[in-house]
Amino acid sequence: MAALSPWDSNLGQSNRAQLAEIDASCRGSVLLFFLSGMLWLLAGTVLALLASYKLHAPGFLGDAAWLTFGRIRTAHLNAVIYGFSAEVAVGVILWLMCRLCRVPLMAQSLINSAAVLWNIGLVIGIVGILAGDTTGVEYLELPKYCTPILFLSFALIAVWTIVIFRFRREKHLYVSQWYILAAVLWFPWLYSTAQLLLVMDPARGAVQAAVNWWYGHNVLGLWFTPVGLASIYYFLPKVIGRPIHSYYLSVLGFWTLALFYNWNGFHHLVGGPFPAWMITISIVASVMMIIPVVATAINHHFTMIGHFGKLKYSPTLRFIVFGAMSYTVSSLQGVLSAVRWFSETAHFTHHTVAHAHWGMYAFFTMTMFGSMYYILPRITQREWPSERLISLHFWCTAVGIILYVAPLSWGGWLQGKAMLDAQIPFLEVVKVTLPYLKLRTVTGVILAVGHVAFFANICWLLVRTFGPYRQPEPMILAGVQPQTAPVGK
């Protein structure tokens, strides 16, 4: 087995110049996506804190319609899903795609206009939600006058990702590219079907709920999850300098995910007004998710074995490993929640909210943070200015999210148990949840501190045009000596 990439000889250019060119070509567009994503994260965090606080202090800021819980909560969800998560995901997609295809980003202005369009559409949409124009469909609340803008923008991004791919200089595909290509193709398809059948020309009655959860589940499973996994599959080997334990397992994981995940949506409808076959099919598919999840977990774990010491040095590795572990936990929790006996209790409770944050935060967001730690210094040619802020960011978000999701999962379960006992008056059920809701607000503050630290570090990185780089060796930029002899194995 050759130690270097076996295809290097195909490439005319010197390797270092090529990497530098690719990274530089991504600078403007990826920064645009990252920075606007970060602004959405901050906005989403404020909205989250408000919503969380209101849930145990209902009178707080209750005098205006636009500040009511139902709207703030919805604005939060859309800001962090379609603002932060989607935009950062696109930034990561672009960089990974260029790096793995070994081509510079072409026609940046096109991508930049997609970013601008996306942000305009989203601002209009979120203001619309606060003004009361929500569609009322979960995960698709953005009013219909802004979704065509978003769709157009996303179509540009998807097409451009495929164009980059089309012009790739590296003929062979890495598993991350499979995930990314699938994600950019799946998402427009999901989004357009859902818009058509739910917003533009709503289907009849309960069918809407079916389409709603087919979309709601898949937007996480077929858009965010593949991007998160693409990052893990790239950065985990990259940082520790060792190939993924079993490439075969990673491909198997991809295809089984593709196979089972999109059948999962109806497990959100267990007990609902639907024919039994629909629900059963989703429960079966949800249980089958054990295959890709366990395959992925084994693969990541065996890749990391013997390299855990490296967590000390690399922020990327810390976040990515945290994300990878959370992927396993949250997916297994998802499998459990789909099963009828568990759903009977946990459905309709805060357990579901906790589960959504295991997936979207502990897995996806942490993975994206990790990716940004790797990408930003390379595209800006600057080192991270502050180690302190990095540590603060990591510990606040890691501890914060664990303290959020673990107790709330449990609190939701207790809430469900209390609700199952018809003798317990409803207000007593509410009381059961209160301590957990209050704890959530506290953890929200901890997470917010982490986000601010990260944002400050990014801004600092960008303004620090002058000043010495730390040391030449450490790896980020100038570090490595040009290699002469490849390592044999």
Binding site: H172, G241, P243, K310, Y313, S314, I476, Q483
Partner: protein, 71 residues
């Protein structure tokens, strides 16, 4: 609902077609073979196998010799 049914059924035919094409393409391109080589794609001369990248924190305690790929 006529148009909608048409779109739905139409796309459920189009989708397998695209999928089949992807599969055929992947097979032709050799994506389904050479897994050991594919696993090395993230690495190159500049950032080679066997070398940690992204040493940002606690640099003073990072073992020096592992910084080069001779380790």
């Amino acid at each position: 609902m006529g148009i909608i049914s048409f779109i739905l059924i139409g796309s459920s035919l189009a989708f397998p077609a695209v999928a089949l094409y992807a599969l055929w393409w992947a097979g032709r391109e050799g994506q389904l073979r050479h897994h050991d080589k594919a696993a090395l794609l993230p690495f190159d001369q500049e950032e080679p196998l066997g070398q940690m990248t992204d040493v940002v924190l606690n640099r003073s305690s990072f073992p020096k010799q592992t910084l080069t790929n001779k380790a």
